[in-house]
């Protein structure tokens, strides 16, 4: 039900998510921010029930801060993604986190990257991705439109196409979307 999408462009990564927090037939909130900022250059878009998403996000965030304090180093996006996957995998056969994640980050050495993780602890580095019902609608748009080295305007246009598609064809009404971008200058909202 939550829509989370991400796309990698030339030197940046955009993560977009809808803003409706809802369960069953009730909408709690129309301006929910589902994209967590983990340290200055990683974005984590999450889908799932708030209990698990906030629990998991805070756990990862605090562990990453601890790592930074202890080691005077920031974790790379690749390391962070694998750390998250390891946590999801360990919890899977005890008390799973029902959260699907798109981790977008920018590293000086590796550039922008996007990782697709799901609640069964899959992990894959991707150029674009989507979670939830939305993936049925938007992945085909990404497949057709994505190319290497997208500019910000091009990426924005693709995301807009996806949002338009969802608002036309997806059963659930998701009027508002939040877009965040991470690049060499850090994180900002679009």
């Amino acid at each position: 039900m939550d829509t989370v999408m991400g796309i990698v462009g030339d030197g940046f990564c955009i993560v977009a998510a809808d803003c409706s927090a809802a369960r069953s037939i009730l909408v709690f909130n129309h301006s929910e921010d589902k994209i967590v900022e983990l340290d200055g250059n990683k974005l984590m878009g999450q889908s799932g029930p708030q209990c698990d998403t906030s629990n998991f996000a805070e756990y990862i965030q605090k562990n990453m801060t601890l790592y930074e304090l202890n080691n005077d180093l920031q974790l790379s996006t690749h390391a962070a993604a694998n750390f998250m996957r390891r946590e999801l995998a360990t919890a899977l056969r005890k008390g799973p986190y029902q959260t699907n994640v798109l981790l977008g980050g920018f590293d000086k050495s590796a550039g922008p990257s996007l990782y697709y993780l799901d609640h069964l602890s899959s992990l894959q580095k991707v150029n674009f991705g989507a979670h939830g019902y939305a993936s049925n609608f938007v992945l085909s748009i990404f497949d057709r439109e994505w190319k290497h080295g997208l500019t910000l305007e091009e990426a924005r246009a693709i995301i807009d196409k996806c949002i338009f598609e969802l608002q036309t064809r997806f059963l659930l009404s998701q009027p508002k979307f939040k877009l965040k971008i991470v690049d060499a200058d850090g994180i900002r909202e679009l």
Partner: protein, 270 residues
């Protein structure tokens, strides 16, 4: 006076010293010398093999050099049995890190992990400290080539060139005078030999008592290897000529046995 305060590792003396830790450091000063030198394109580690008896079977591996992970190696001075425990701790820590992060463990973190473990034996449990000092040499993408020394107290520090074990003061003073951080690995190897020759007894210095490990990078990969044949040992005799006449460095039995031992291990690991 120190007698009253030195039997328990976990008690300070009135002067504020931990005698057990200091005694452990003393134990290392009887061990074979080890040298580490940071060059601009790699790190050289060298060690003196102390031959205890002619009846000893030739070692399968090395008693001084230990590979901790693909990008970190170490040389040991002190009690070998104690060293084995710590080496294992370091290796497990390195693999655990890759298990979690899918990336090689930054060198300083590995050193810190071993040192924190050593420190716990100076503060609680009533067990004696480890009688080992390490020289850790490694490369990571954060800080490049790094050389660290750690001692039984659990302290560690980064060095450009240093020396542990027997006669390390003599070695360190030589390094202070002659170390040049702009040289490459080849020059650093020659300096390492010079240091070891100075710290060993002049009469007993010979090629089969030395072993080396050179850490460099080829492209993206860190390589740990003994000095290779192509390295310009143009007049090897000159490096040892003042102590052991006409003994070339790379050729003889034990150092090539070391080379072969390590080479075959490395190739079998692939």
């Amino acid at each position: 006076m120190a007698r009253r305060y030195d039997s328990s590792t976990t008690t300070f003396s009135p002067e504020g010293r931990l005698h057990q830790v200091e005694y452990a450091i003393e134990a290392i000063n009887n061990a074979g010398t080890a040298v580490g030198i940071l060059a601009k394109d790699g790190i050289v580690l060298a060690g003196e093999k102390q031959k205890l008896s002619g009846l000893l079977a030739p070692p399968k591996g090395s008693e001084k050099m230990y590979k901790l992970d693909e990008h970190v190696t170490s040389v040991v001075a002190g009690l070998t049995a104690d060293a084995n425990i710590l080496i294992n701790t370091a290796r497990v820590a390195a693999q655990r890190y890759i298990y979690t992060y899918q990336e090689p463990m930054p060198v300083e973190q590995m050193v810190k992990r071993v040192c924190n473990y050593k420190q716990s034996y100076t503060q609680f449990g009533g067990l004696r400290p480890f009688g080992v000092a390490f020289l850790f040499a490694g490369w990571d993408e954060h800080y490049g080539y790094q050389l660290y020394m750690s001692d039984p107290s659990g302290n560690y520090s980064g060095w450009k060139a240093t020396c542990i074990g027997q006669n390390n003061q003599a070695g360190k003073s030589l390094l202070k005078n002659e170390y040049d951080e702009s040289v490459g690995v080849d020059e650093a190897l020659k300096l390492a030999v010079k240091v070891l020759v100075k710290t060993m007894d002049a009469t007993s210095a010979s090629a089969d008592k030395l072993e080396f490990c050179v850490l460099t990078r080829e492209g993206d990969k860190v390589t740990l290897a003994p000095p290779r044949a192509h390295m310009p040992w143009s007049s090897p005799a000159t490096h040892l000529s003042w102590c052991v006449p006409a003994l070339p460095l790379v050729a003889p039995s034990a150092s090539s046995a070391y080379c072969q031992g390590r080479r075959s291990r490395r190739s079998s690991m692939k």
